[in-house]
């Protein structure tokens, strides 16, 4: 079975996948100026400091944009599927991508919630689905 696994060994991003493996959603943030940093970077471009760390997010967000892919590209992702871009409630400046099977009815700003997809023989991905956490 073809699949695409994330490289979870990059020293600047590995913490994201390590947390996901434990069922936690995290984002990088500057401990000095409080800016969220995504894609995650060790250095804070806002205050110029290096005091950045992973923070826990509560796992809810809102839908910013989406596209339903109907042209098959990769055997691991049978079309149709829908790519969603979600803004975290904890830090709206952090946007994460997720995949929803099929062609769901979606609307901008609707609530989305995280779930964790354990990939066969590999890392865990935080994923997103429509709906507010219970």
């Amino acid at each position: 079975m073809a699949s695409i696994l994330p490289n979870d060994t990059d020293r600047e991003t590995a913490g994201f996948f390590a947390a996901a493996a434990e069922g936690r959603l995290v984002f990088r943030a500057c401990q000095d100026c409080d800016h969220a940093l995504h894609p995650p970077t060790d250095h804070c471009p806002h205050c110029g400091g290096w005091n950045t760390a992973w923070r826990d997010a509560k796992g809810s967000g809102t839908l910013y944009s989406w596209t339903t892919v109907t042209h098959q590209i990769h055997p691991a992702f049978p079309a149709p599927y829908t790519l969603v871009v979600v803004e975290l409630d904890d830090a709206p400046e952090v946007r994460l991508v997720g995949r929803v099977d099929g062609t769901p009815e979606l609307a901008a700003g609707q609530p989305m919630q995280v779930w964790f997809e354990k990939l066969e023989g590999g890392p865990t991905l935080p994923q997103w689905k429509p709906g507010a956490p219970a």
């Binding site: 079975m1 894609p39 590209i73 871009v85």
Partner: protein, 400 residues
């Protein structure tokens, strides 16, 4: 701070002296070095030069043909300068700047800039090629690990996410996207070498085409193509004695968006406003360096990997306000006979996709007055590079 005066030091000091291209096809049946060599020999001959006159080569970093390979194939005796720029479709406009840097600093006398690809038959760009087996994606500072494992894999999907947001924020419509596709198609229909020269496109055809990644349909996508383009750049002083009227490089500028994020293409979706592109910063600096503005452009070659790309750039380069790109495309202003015709050979959407380089060749043809669909009295032309993740741009003008 750096002295601003240097920004104007290159104005009109360099020129495109020669242009060349191969046929644009779906399957060239040849290797990319062979294509690059043909386009380069044509560009050198067009300038009235010989291979011995060329001493520099610049290229796109995604080209698989290396400068010294091309030099070997051409039989160049004196390769003194070479450079890569990019990324991808951003490269051609930046190549003009790299060549200027080499020429004005005395590192080269005549520079060949080229792009060669079998973008349909061999290495399909933008992630649309075939994949097999288990792959590990991302890492090493690429940030692709946040996108590829989710199935966000192509440029088309990325631009679809931008198009959706442009529709939500500004009311842009499928008919406005179609207007971009139909404008380019009409221009291709008047350009015999364009891949879509013989195929008209109606609004009904557009609506009937299959959805690829909503809201983008087949005809919102450019043509994956095989082909090569090359141009010879030299100083304006040298160019004025050569075979063809020189086309001056008035100004070149690149730009990164204010909210630029680390990584290549996909992290664009994490920007605060995903419909904002580096073309805005490139454009602001370009107009300052050129001493001109959008209103001074007779024509424009706007990088059209997708229809939405054109709309985003019309706004970014100041041809209209934010959110007004769709109505501007639908107004007819961009067609032959309109206020500022764009993509006058059919562009990437309908002429061929040589990753921005065919736009440079088309700009030069128009300003020489030798284009198939010649815009009367065209004296100035904006050329833009790929809109992600950073922008690039050139103003060309006819020598006085």
């Amino acid at each position: 701070m750096i002295d601003d005066d240097l920004a104007f030091a290159g104005r009109d000091k360099c020129a495109v002296a020669g242009i060349g291209q191969t046929a644009f096809t779906r399957d060239s049946g040849r290797g990319v070095l062979s294509l690059a060599t043909e386009a380069s020999l044509k560009a050198i001959a067009d300038a009235g030069l010989t291979v011995d006159d060329i001493d520099g080569i610049v290229r796109c970093e995604q080209d698989t043909v290396r400068p010294y390979s091309l030099a070997a194939s051409l039989g160049m005796k004196d390769l003194r300068y070479w450079a890569d720029t990019g990324p991808g479709g951003v490269a051609p406009c930046m190549m003009m700047g790299v060549a200027m840097g080499a020429l004005l600093s005395g590192q080269a006398k005549a520079v060949l800039a080229f792009r060669s690809l079998n973008g349909r038959s061999e290495a399909r760009l933008g992630g649309s090629g075939r994949y097999d087996g288990v792959e590990v994606a991302g890492g090493f500072g690429s940030y692709d690990e946040f996108f590829l494992p989710y199935g966000l894999q192509t440029a088309g999907q990325t631009f679809a996410l931008m198009a959706r947001r442009h529709m939500l924020d500004y009311g842009t419509t499928p008919e406005q996207l179609a207007a971009v596709a139909m404008t380019c198609r009409e221009h291709a229909n008047r350009t015999p070498h364009a891949q879509m020269a013989q195929r008209p496109l109606t609004l009904d055809d557009y609506h009937a085409s299959r959805m690829i990644s909503s809201p983008l349909r087949l005809f919102d996508y450019c043509l994956e193509s095989d082909g090569a383009c090359a141009v010879v750049i030299t100083t304006a002083e040298r160019a004025k004695d050569l075979a063809k009227p020189p086309v001056l490089i008035r100004a070149v500028a690149g730009g990164a968006p204010r909210d630029h994020r680390a990584g290549m293409m996909f992290p664009v979706v994490t920007r605060g406003e995903i419909t904002e592109i580096g073309g805005r910063q490139a454009g602001t600096e370009l107009w300052r360096r050129a001493g001109m503005g959008p209103q001074d452009m007779d024509i424009a070659q706007i990088y059209d990997c997708f229809t939405i790309s054109v709309i985003l750039q019309l706004e970014a380069f100041g041809f209209c306000g934010k959110g007004e790109g769709g109505p501007m495309a639908a107004s007819g202003a961009l067609k032959f006979g309109g206020q500022m015709p764009i993509n006058t050979g059919g562009g990437h959407l309908s002429e061929g996709y040589v990753h921005g380089m065919n736009h440079i060749v088309q700009a030069v043809r128009q300003l020489r007055g030798e284009a198939d669909m010649q815009v009367p009295d065209a004296e100035t032309c904006l050329c833009t590079g790929g809109p992600l993740p950073v922008g690039s741009s050139v103003v060309f003008r006819k020598a006085a």
